[in-house]
């Protein structure tokens, strides 16, 4: 199993960095091969440029400006996002990763004939995890329709292997969250990560010490 974790938060020491550490801890515990992309730390440039837009459908050259990031996508079979929800959606930094890296012939295939629609291209990815934090309440987020969650769980989800396994956890009302609630959330993140990678309670013990998949 090969997991790509895309992490996006500007401030080290934030609750999101604790979520990231929890996820990475569970993956390493299960001896999953991992790659961690910390978009802020790497200074990722999220703006899709004019040249990239013009060359968007030229599948020979379109991935050149972001070749490393495309390689991650082609390498992994498990994709996990850890980020704060801002304005009900992804931080611009993370949205830019989608815009620039999920390219034609990397993540999907453009229509070849008239009347065709875009076809998914990430059938090698079997698991999707989305872990986020929201300033808004659960009710307000649901009323708005949770656009950020849908961009990833459905928008990106549509590109993955059909019936790919999915995990989602969000902590709401972050501005007034009590410590106990945050700690409880980290446990939930750990449990959801375990389930996502098939480390169910019954299998957890035998998996320890077993060779990596």
């Amino acid at each position: 199993m090969r997991a790509l974790v895309v992490y996006c938060h500007p401030k080290e020491g934030s609750f999101n960095s604790a979520v990231r550490d929890t996820v990475m801890g569970r993956l390493e515990h299960a001896r999953v091969e991992t790659r961690l992309r910390d978009l802020y730390a790497e200074g990722f440039q999220p703006v899709l440029t004019r040249d990239e837009w013009v060359g968007y459908e030229d599948t020979e050259t379109n991935r050149k400006p972001v070749a490393d990031y495309c390689d991650d996508i082609l390498w992994c079979d498990t994709l996990i996002f850890v980020y704060p929800t801002w304005w009900y959606g992804l931080p611009a930094m993370l949205k830019g990763w989608l815009d620039r890296v999920l390219l034609p012939d990397v993540a999907f295939h453009m229509p070849k004939a008239e009347g065709e629609i875009i076809k998914p291209g990430l059938h090698h990815i079997e698991r999707l995890g989305v872990f986020t934090t929201c300033g808004a309440s659960r009710w307000l987020t649901m009323f708005i329709g949770a656009p950020g969650k849908r961009t990833l769980m459905r928008g990106v989800g549509l590109l993955l292997k059909p019936r790919a396994k999915k995990a989602f956890a969000a902590h709401f009302l972050m501005d007034t969250a009590p410590r106990a609630s945050l700690e409880k959330h980290l446990k939930k993140v750990a449990a959801k990560t375990d389930t996502l990678i098939g480390m169910t309670a019954s299998r957890r013990a035998p998996l320890e010490g077993a060779p990596a998949e």
Binding site: P10, K11, W87, A92, D99, P111
Partner: protein, 192 residues
């Protein structure tokens, strides 16, 4: 009446650019004073920095890094967004405008830990947008940009006029389809 047009497309000869031009021209013809904000041309940086995150809730200083953009928003009676939809969301540069400019004390405030809208000047909002996906596929994905605009921003601004003008399935559009879309944009802006 003053309209702020937020435009986010990198290519001047795109359908989006044509629609943007029609928005600006039609509003001016109808007597609006238009502030045309081209995020790509202005080199807007969409990345909310660590320092901005640290000062996010400090309403005395949080607007400083984007003061010009905040002033332009505060001077507007209407806001029109012109942008493509990429991966079922806003282009990063437009999402970053929301992240960095729509700040506590500008468009919302926290009351007892709950979000509360606090921007009173913008009463009309519109989006003019283009999707690669079909309407059906976008619906299946939950159409996040439509929801963010029609629910999130409607609530935030307390707008009484909310128009969402979208062209889906751009990969299969005909020249006549483009013309029909542009005509629809013009008609909507005339009635805005």
């Amino acid at each position: 009446m003053r309209a702020l047009v937020i435009y986010a497309h990198p290519v001047p000869d795109s359908l989006n650019a044509a629609a943007h031009q029609i928005v600006v021209d039609t509003l001016r013809e109808r007597g609006w004073e238009v502030d045309d904000c081209d995020l790509y041309a202005e080199g807007f940086s969409p990345v909310l920095t660590e320092e901005e995150r640290r000062n996010y809730h400090n309403t005395e200083i949080n607007t400083a890094p984007v003061q010009g953009y905040v002033d332009r928003l505060r001077a507007a009676d209407a806001v029109v967004f012109c942008h493509p939809v990429w991966n079922f969301g806003y282009p990063a540069i437009l999402k970053g405008w929301h992240d960095r400019v729509m700040l506590p004390g500008v468009s919302f405030e926290l009351r007892d830990g709950k979000l509360w809208p606090c921007m009173k000047n913008v009463k009309r909002i519109a989006t003019v947008t283009t999707y690669g996906a079909t309407r059906k596929l976008a619906f299946l994905a939950g159409d996040p940009p439509r929801k963010l605009f029609k629910r999130g921003l409607r609530l935030t601004f307390g707008a009484h006029k909310v128009r969402y003008i979208a062209q889906y399935d751009m990969n299969n559009i005909t020249p006549a389809g483009c013309q029909a879309f542009l005509a629809r944009v013009r008609k909507e802006m005339e009635a805005f």
